[in-house]
């Protein structure tokens, strides 16, 4: 440390080896130190030799490009599945060419591959292996029957309510079932009360509805 500090005023730093051996003579200026990273494309000192030309070279070029194009048509080339669009469109029916799933239609010789890779691919559009779809289909049909029965019951009770039962999915059916039952209960309550008194119960406000809406703002600060 001391040597380095002392040498600053007197010229070159002192080093363990003789600078002249390295070829840097006395009084010679060293190249300036670099203060930034090396450039991304350093300047070329020499131009590259031009490419070989000739029939052979062009033939090989054509071969290479053909190979590349041929690779894309092989079953080995898995294309990404087309991303699922947000809305099911009418034109999808006519665009079924691209695979919607990351599966391919090709089976190799299984004797050359390890057993664990041999999986049966199940796609909703294709006929998969026997067991799973049957079970699921059976379950589905059972659920549908139950729901149809409960639906018919609620329909019988309320003839004036317009219910969209035919066009909805299973989950929405359940939801509407629950909603209908709730609405039913409320209506029944109102009817009973009305029979006892002359006052119209719907005009009476007993304050129970006061805090019901505030449940929605639990997360926000109350001022």
């Amino acid at each position: 440390m001391a040597g380095r500090g002392g040498g600053r005023g007197r010229g070159r730093t002192n080093m363990t080896f003789n600078l002249e051996d390295l070829g840097i003579g006395r009084g010679e200026a060293l190249p300036p130190t670099a203060v930034k990273p090396t450039p991304l494309f350093p300047p070329m000192t020499a131009q590259a030799v031009p490419l070989q030309t000739g029939e052979e070279v062009e033939y090989m070029l054509a071969l290479k490009q053909e190979l590349r194009a041929a690779c894309k048509t092989l079953p080995f080339y898995i294309r990404r599945a087309a991303p699922r669009k947000d809305v099911v469109r009418y034109s999808d029916k006519y665009h079924k060419g691209e695979p919607r799933d990351n599966t391919i239609e090709w089976s190799p010789d299984w004797s050359r591959l390890p057993k664990e890779l041999c999986i049966k691919v199940r796609k909703s559009q294709r006929k998969g292996p026997v067991c799973p779809p049957q079970v699921k289909a059976v379950k589905k049909s059972i659920m549908e029957k139950e729901e149809v029965l409960s639906k018919l019951e609620t329909l019988e009770k309320k003839e004036e309510m317009a219910v969209n039962s035919g066009d909805e999915d299973e989950e929405e059916k359940k939801k509407t079932n629950e909603e209908e039952e709730q609405v039913e209960e409320e209506e029944l309550d109102e009817e009973d009360l009305e029979e006892e008194t002359d006052y119209i119960m719907s005009y009476f406000d007993n304050g129970e509805d006061f805090d019901i809406d505030s449940d929605d703002n639990i997360d926000e600060a109350v001022y």
Partner: protein, 482 residues
């Protein structure tokens, strides 16, 4: 994100393409199956065009097509290969089969080794060498129905029936389970021979290259692939096997051989005097000298001819001090110093310290410059791979950028082609062409793009040749060292 299913599919695909070697536990251990990616195999892909071109020059278009199919699909049965090729080129099966057998007889194609379920778990060693399997080059006898394009002339009814039958019965040709793959080693040996022959031709003359070619063809079957030099060949044998177009008399042949032996490239060596003189081709030396020439030319192109002079001097004299270098090459001290440091910075030249005193005092140490050919070749090989990666990157980038342009032009071509197929009249074609003509600048841009991509592809091919040379030199040196 790829789901689990997708990963399994990918592995399955790669395996079938025999890019990956499978290492499995034996069924007794019941361990998980291990997969291994063989990097070497993947790095051979840049050489594919060269393999195909070689097949074409040696054995014609059918062979070229066979090799192309096998390279694309990894491995296939003989019958499926021959069928595909015959249908493509509208030949009959016999020609396809004869091409196939020719390729097998010359060892360019080999049988895939059987996948055994019980390879030892610990070693994870690659499967046994093909030569150890005795039936590797035996062509199976199969009966193939000739179904070239000539069937178009037959009745439609007949065709329908045939097609139906074909779909109902799965066609078996008697060679199920016997898969064939390309024998890359054989191709590499061929490339090596070609490199030696062309080097001799460019350095000496055509006749000497013919002589060397004869010697190499005579020893292809007898020399193992890792041999340092071929078997001894007597002058009499060479004289008898010379091709007919190269008619030289016996004393002239002797002269040529002695010229080849004296040449500093050391391709041919004399190993005895019986039979009119026994000669060998020094394969390892030839490769080393070819690699050396490559290194020298790289230095010359990048740093100038004077640096190349210094490099050559160091290769020749092994260890030299800086002062000695300056004196021998007769370049000014400052310039020589500069050049040496540049070469040192690029790792083409190494510095060797020899201390005079046991304290390794820097002022009393010899600093010698030296070139280690093997390590320099390795460094250059790394550079080549980096170059190849950059080329591929740039090509993909250019394609991505101009994707829209390319798609548009493809669509236009497709429209025109379909119109022509329908048989539209000339005026209609002209009208459509006018409708879909692109702007002049688009066409210009398209032309530029094509030009760039062609240049990049062609450069990749050239770099692949250099890679091959350096790799074979490094492999031959490391195997010779063992």
């Amino acid at each position: 994100m790829l789901r689990q299913l997708h990963w399994e599919l990918l592995i399955w695909l790669w395996l079938s393409h025999s890019d990956i070697a499978v290492c499995r536990f034996s069924t007794g251990c019941k361990g998980p199956v291990k997969y291994q990616a063989v990097g070497e195999r993947i790095l051979r892909i840049p050489h594919y065009p060269r393999y195909i071109y070689t097949a074409k020059t040696l054995y014609g278009d059918t062979a070229k097509r066979i090799i192309e199919e096998l390279l694309l699909r990894g491995h296939m049965t003989m019958s499926s290969t021959v069928k595909t090729v015959a249908n493509h080129l509208s030949l009959n099966m016999e020609e396809g089969k004869s091409s196939f057998s020719k390729l097998v007889d010359t060892y360019f194609l080999q049988c895939c080794p059987p996948v055994s379920a019980s390879t030892p778990a610990t070693t994870g060693a690659p499967e046994s060498a093909p030569e150890s399997f005795p039936d590797y080059y035996k062509v199976p006898t199969v009966g193939l129905i000739s179904r070239g394009k000539r069937r178009r002339s037959s009745d439609d009814g007949d065709e329908q029936r045939n097609r139906k039958k074909a779909r109902v019965e799965t066609e078996t040709h008697g060679d199920e389970g016997i898969y064939w793959q390309v024998n890359f080693e054989r191709f590499h040996l061929h490339f090596r021979d070609q490199a030696i022959i062309s080097a001799v031709a460019s350095k000496l003359d055509q006749t000497s290259s013919e002589i060397v070619r004869t010697m190499l063809t005579m020893s292809t079957v007898t020399t193992p692939p890792t041999a340092i030099c071929t078997q001894n060949l007597s002058t009499n044998q060479i004289f008898r096997s010379l091709p007919s177009n190269c008619s030289i008399s016996r004393p002239i042949l002797d002269e040529y051989l002695s010229l080849l032996v004296d040449d500093p490239m050391e391709f041919v060596g004399k190993s005895g005097d019986s039979g009119g003189g026994m000669y060998v081709i020094n394969l390892h030396r030839a490769l080393a000298n070819l690699a050396r020439a490559t290194l020298e030319s790289v230095v010359q192109e990048r740093f100038g001819s004077r640096s190349a002079q210094i490099f050559r001097l160091l290769l020749q004299k092994r260890h030299l001090e800086q002062k000695q270098v300056e004196d021998i090459v007769m370049i000014a001290a400052k310039e020589a110093k500069d050049m040496l440091y540049t070469l040192l910075a690029e790792d083409l030249v190494q510095l060797q310290e020899i201390p005079k005193t046991p304290e390794h005092n820097p002022s009393r140490t010899f600093y010698l410059y030296t070139v280690n050919q093997l390590s320099t070749a390795r460094i250059l090989l790394q550079h080549c791979y980096k170059t190849m990666a950059s080329l591929i990157d740039r090509r993909l980038f250019e394609t991505e950028e101009n994707k829209r342009l390319l798609e548009k032009s493809q669509r236009n071509e497709a429209i025109l082609a379909s119109l022509q197929a329908i048989g539209a009249g000339d005026e209609q074609l002209q009208q459509v062409k006018e409708m879909i003509t692109q702007l002049e600048q688009h066409l210009e841009a398209l032309r530029h793009l094509r030009h760039h991509i062609n240049k990049l592809d062609s450069t990749e091919n050239q770099v692949a040749e250099t890679i091959f040379l350096l790799e074979s030199y490094i492999n031959s040196t490391t195997t010779a060292a063992h």
